[in-house]
């Protein structure tokens, strides 16, 4: 059975016709061609599929599209607004924190959520907030440094 719904994605109303069991990730990638959201493990461990629902991080692979309802979805394609890069994207680029890049969209959204809730997190709060995002290339050091820079310097 197909489900017809209207989702608010990156501030636009998008009509979606998808199988009832489709995840939000399926809908974003397959129905709407928003392929910046990545499928890393498809069962909620790696965080590559992270999006924001009403500003809070969510695993799009574990979120039924039918359950999204009126919540606002923000994907990597929607974080920069009219500028080329958001400050989080800029900080990751400048820190050399991006290697293969497959995990990067998920990190951008997780960091965006963190800094919205807590503009000046310390190192431990940063590491805690990023603990649901896997990266296989960087060893995490430069990612955490990029967030520390945005948070206003190194915290103990």
């Amino acid at each position: 059975m197909k489900l017809h719904s209207v989702l608010t994605i990156n501030d636009e109303a998008r009509e979606v016709l998808a199988p009832g069991a489709a995840s939000l990730l399926d809908v974003l990638r397959d129905s709407l061609a928003l392929t910046g959201t990545k499928r890393g493990c498809n069962h909620g461990v790696c965080g590559a599929c992270t999006v924001l629902l009403d500003g809070r991080v969510a695993r799009s692979c574990l979120t039924l599209a039918a359950d999204v309802g009126a919540r606002a979805v923000t994907t990597i394609e929607g974080v920069a607004g009219v500028d080329a890069y958001s400050r989080v994207q800029r900080a990751l680029i400048d820190a050399g924190a991006i290697q293969c890049g497959f995990c990067t969209p998920g990190f951008v959204l997780a960091i965006t959520d963190l800094l919205t809730r807590n503009p000046h997190p310390g190192s431990e709060a940063i590491r805690e907030a990023l603990s649901g995002q896997l990266c296989r290339c960087s060893g995490y050091i430069k990612i955490v440094q990029a967030v520390e820079h945005l948070a206003g310097g190194t915290h103990e």
């Binding site: 392929t35 293969c100 296989r136």
Partner: protein, 768 residues
Amino acid sequence: MSDADPAIGASPPRLEAGDKATGRAQYADDIQVPGMLHAAILTSPHAHARIVGYRTDAARAMAGVKAIVTGADLTGPRSGGIVKDETMLARGKVRYVGEPVAAVAATDATIANAALAAIEVDYVPLTPVLGIDEALAPGAPLLHEEYAAYAKGIEGTGHDNVVWEAAIAEGDVEHAFAQCDVVVEGTFHTQAQHHAYLETNGCVADVDAAGKITLHVTCQSVHHVQQRVAEELGEPMSRIRAIATRVGGGFGGKHATNIHSIAAWLARAARRPVKLVLSRMQDFEIQRSRHPARIWIKTGARRDGTILARDVRIVIDGGAYADESPPVLTFALLMARGPYRIPHVRARGQAVYTNKLRAGSFRGFGNPQASFAGESQLDDLATQLGMDPVALRLANAMVPGDLAFGGQPVPSCVARECLVRVRDAQRDAAPLPPRSGRRRGVGYASVSHVSGLMGTAATVQLRSDGSVALLTGCVDIGQGSDTVMVQICADGLSLPMGRVSYARQDSDASPYNWKTAGSRSTYMTGRAVAVATIEMREKMFAHAAELMECAAVDLELRPGGVVGLRGVPDLAVTFKEIALRSLFKAGGPLAATHGFVFDGPGFDPKRASLRQLAFANLGVYTFGAHCVEVDVDDATGEVEVRRAWCAHDVGRAINPVSCEGQIQGGFVQGMGYALTEAMQWNEQGWLVTATFADYKIPGVLDSPPEIHPIILEDPDPTHPVGAKGIGEPSLVGAAPAIANAIRHATGARVRALPMTPERVLAAIDTLR
């Protein structure tokens, strides 16, 4: 970057970082082609079985199914690495659980999976061979009854379940051990590690009206994919084209594989584009692992700490197909001496077939296994001698001008400096406060590695506005080679990086490159770029000399694309003027290509006895050292790495921030190998760790908040800008340094990876 900034040694942001940060970068699964079908693979439920029949009629009759292929359709020769033992789908027998048996292309993924469920395969189960001892037992069931008839890429062979055997020896080991005051020996075990790149393997195979197939593929070499697919489809390489997508991590796990051929076969059969992207579970089950290994090692020294002799036997578990087993075995043997001047060394090894996933190349390529054993044993030797482990290493470390194991001269060697740098950095750091219930330990490891191997090339072309187009076959798998190649070219022409374009790798258009592997890109392809750039400069100078009516030797490059007469600031021509002259008046379009095969010295048969090595030469040697601090939980045995210092010689740091990223990322991947990562199979040969929930790669909370990269620059004389590779050595030192820190903290030696809490507690228990 302004025109005046030198490109080499700066750390400009990665060229593609913006695309990756904004979600624009296209990986394999992001490719959409009109009319695209979706493929699915039926895999073997048996570890070892004979295939006696297929029934595909029901699947073929399903609406939306456009092509089906089984092993029965394959009639061509077998493919693979040095031993040609593989087919893209099992033919006659299955040899591991998860081996592809049949594949379907359908109009959507749901139909493709429904069709798989409708395919019936009849098997006669055989006894599975799941470990090294079972494989080598007399009368063991054979995995490959026709092994002797398989084509081999080099001289040599294995036998029974032995894929390959090799040996290297220098000096007289037996006699030397008799001269030693202290001898230590032990057996070490290492596990199967998965690459766990965040992007799984996959591709889109398109087909044109004439039947030519184009693959958009996440891979480590477009030329290797092209060659493998052509072999398996029985097509000339002119009818197979591979174009690299962005690659979401490789680490050795994205070399050409059966799935590229399966996708291409289905596209050819259906005359439609086909997408085949593996689920995470299928990627775990059907691709590759690092070789599990069993290493017996014995080392002897004089009372004063002079190491005289080492004897090593290495058996690696290659899984069901040979793939890279012969070269991995060879490299493990060559690295078994470590970065030490040991005069009498013997290393013998075997790679065996077992009914598990094939083991293949993985960052370090046999060296992580050999170094875990060798560097662990070096600390045990230090304990027996009553010496400081760093002092013992310093006393025996190679120095410039020494010979590597096998007889290759090593003119550039900073093994001692690396050790001193990490020791001093740890000593000078403010101590972390002790924690109750945990014991603190400090451990060291020295590593050597190589960068080199095989052939590569680069082409530089001048465009009509004075911009430059750079082409290589080197695929950036996330390590940053795109940026590094452009930095080398821009620096060689005093151009801003924005004036150098760099094309995505395309087997029909890019100069040949063997692979992104073996820590070789910056050394090998970077060297080709540097030399091609120099040749382009000389060609431009010849035009400039004619334009300015002067001698080419009196010319100089000026920043921003200008050639001037030295000492005469007002006399100059631009690259644009040179380009326009070459295009429309004289000489023809300017292009320079440089290609070469690694041309350093090979092994010396007069010095070493060499048997069945998979390489004739390797590359230039690089050196490094790691120091780690760990806390070991008294109650649980859990090990936490608190801080690490990693010193590595990179020859010359083209992009220091990328070098740091390679060191930090390699260390954490090595830490996962040391502590948590293990692929495990049950008694039926089923992989029971085929998800990220069951196979634990380090997250940020598992990783140390401090990993201090220490970059040493000892320029390599054979590279125009002095660079060497850094991709692999950063992983190699992690496990032995952590093992030695555990020993320092607890007195207990853990001889098996991963060093789980259970194993650490068990090792501590043996002390009581």
